[in-house]
Structures are given as C-alpha cells and as structure tokens.
Symmetry: C2
Subunit: 159 residues, 2 copies
C-alpha cells in the first residue's frame, strides 16, 4: 500500500473539521435535535435534557452566533418577555445530518424496543431514509464506491 | 402554539444523543474523517491533524471500544510492529453521516475557492449528494415535509 493521497494535502480548511468545531460537542447537537423536535424554549430544553443551565446557555449562544438558530420573543401571561429559539434556513439545512445520525444510531445504539423518535414524511407517514446519490443520477447502494478526492480548495501541505 | 409533543416524551434513550456521546467531540469525527480518507496510521494522523498525542490516542481507543474501527498490524522495515486503524462495517456505515456533514460544511463554511475534499462516485466521478427519501419511495425535496413523531421506544417522561 502506498502513501495515502490525503497525506499530501492540508486538512486546515476541511469543512468537516469546521462543521464539527461548531456542532462537535455532544450537547450542541442535542440542542439542535430538541429544536427540530419543536422544543424551542430554554426551560423546556432544560426539563427534557438535563443539560446544565450554563452549558445550555453557551450552546444556544454558539448556535445564535453561527446563525443556526434565531430568537423569537414570546410572553406567557404575567411573565416577562422571553425568547424562544427557532432554526434559520441554515439550521434547517442540518436536517439530513440529523436524519443520518439518527439512522446510524437507530441501527447500532437503540434499545431493543426501538428508537424513541422516528422521522417520517408528512402526509404519507413513511419513515425517512438518508441515501447517497451521485450528481450523475446513480443511486449508491454500495458505500465502497464512494471515494474522496482533492477538491477545488485542496492545498498542499507545508513540510 | 400548544405544548410541543416531544415534551411529553423522555429523551433518555435518544439515539442521536447516544451517537453524539460517541462522535460528538470535535476530534473524534475528525479522526473518523482521516480514516475514511485512507489515513490509517497514528503518526500520519498526527502529522495531518495536529491533534495532541494523548487526545488522538484517547479518541482511537473510544472508536475501538465502540467497534467503529479495528486494528490491523503492520511493520515498516527495521521498525517494531505497529497497528493501523481501519473502519469496521459499523464504522463504514457512518459514510452518509460524513457526507451529510461535509455537504452542509461545503455549503456554509468552505473557503471561496471551495472545499478541500470532494466525495465522488468511483467510476463515473460525479459528486455524491445526500438525499432524504421516504420508505414509500417519495423523494423529499422540501425539508418542511419531514416530521418527527414518537417511535416504538418512546417513553413518557416522569414528572
């Protein structure tokens, strides 16, 4: 086996690394999941996830900063105005990531009775699946036919 | 707006939370990415990612423990036997997650010249795309038609 081609290239501008620098902390993606599930208020997220208050606050601020969520004010009777958190278009575009993670988790980590949440197609009610297709229109059943190659932003490594 | 349905259910057995408990740490998924890119040896991963030695070692052990990678021995001339890390079938099944993360990152976080890596279909060379389809065979173009609902493992929350 020769030297892996990837070794010639820098990983500095990797978009997977950058995405995981935002989402790659256990609680961050759990917060995203909650919002996808319609749980949009701080206290509701606290009640369901038991994330420590300060951690939840930090994660929401990170998501705001990256414009994955935005704040919408609401007011309960007799209470001061608060904000709830909703997905932006950029945040909503994480849906395939969420479903891909859930699919893998459902396959390998679910309890025997099955997963607690299913993602279904509104209207028909059938379960969602994540699939890989190529831009030429082929469905990709065999994952071994997927290959990484240097993209337009590939930089040679120094040293 | 009424109470979100998700609030009625426990998030304790959530497979997204469980997946992120394994992968949800920035460096863990970066290590997975390296192995998908064919970078399988400790020192090569170190050189490309600059992950601190102890962190890389911990992450590889976590991936071994969860059977996402397995070790295969190799020996360079004059050196002691070492191990390289390869994906198991369970690890390989993370490919849709990897491509979904890369697609989102390429869209929102790439440098102007584009991403450093592309995932392509071997043979035809066209770029891979992650798509959602439902089990009834509909392609899902509008993400707003994806809906979470309680699955077979949904538990009511206590209190």
């Amino acid at each position: 086996m020769g030297t892996p081609a990837a070794l010639t290239y820098s990983a500095d501008n990797c978009t997977i690394g950058r995405t995981m620098a935002i989402l790659g902390e256990r609680w961050t993606f759990v917060v995203v999941r909650e919002i996808f599930n319609g749980v949009r208020r701080f206290d509701d997220m606290r009640a369901r996830t038991a994330i420590p208050r300060q951690v939840l606050s930090n994660r929401l601020n990170l998501l705001l900063e990256h414009e994955i969520v935005h704040k919408v004010p609401y007011r309960l009777p007799g209470a001061r105005e608060r904000n709830e958190y909703r997905l932006t278009a950029k945040g909503f575009d994480l849906y395939p990531v969420l479903v891909a993670i859930a699919s893998w988790g459902d396959r390998y980590l679910a309890d025997p009775e099955g997963p607690p949440v299913e993602f279904v197609h509104a209207g028909c009610g059938a379960q969602m699946q994540v699939g890989l297709t190529c831009a030429a229109g082929h469905e990709v059943d065999d994952l071994r036919t997927v290959t990484p190659r240097p993209g337009p932003g590939a930089h040679h490594r120094n040293g």
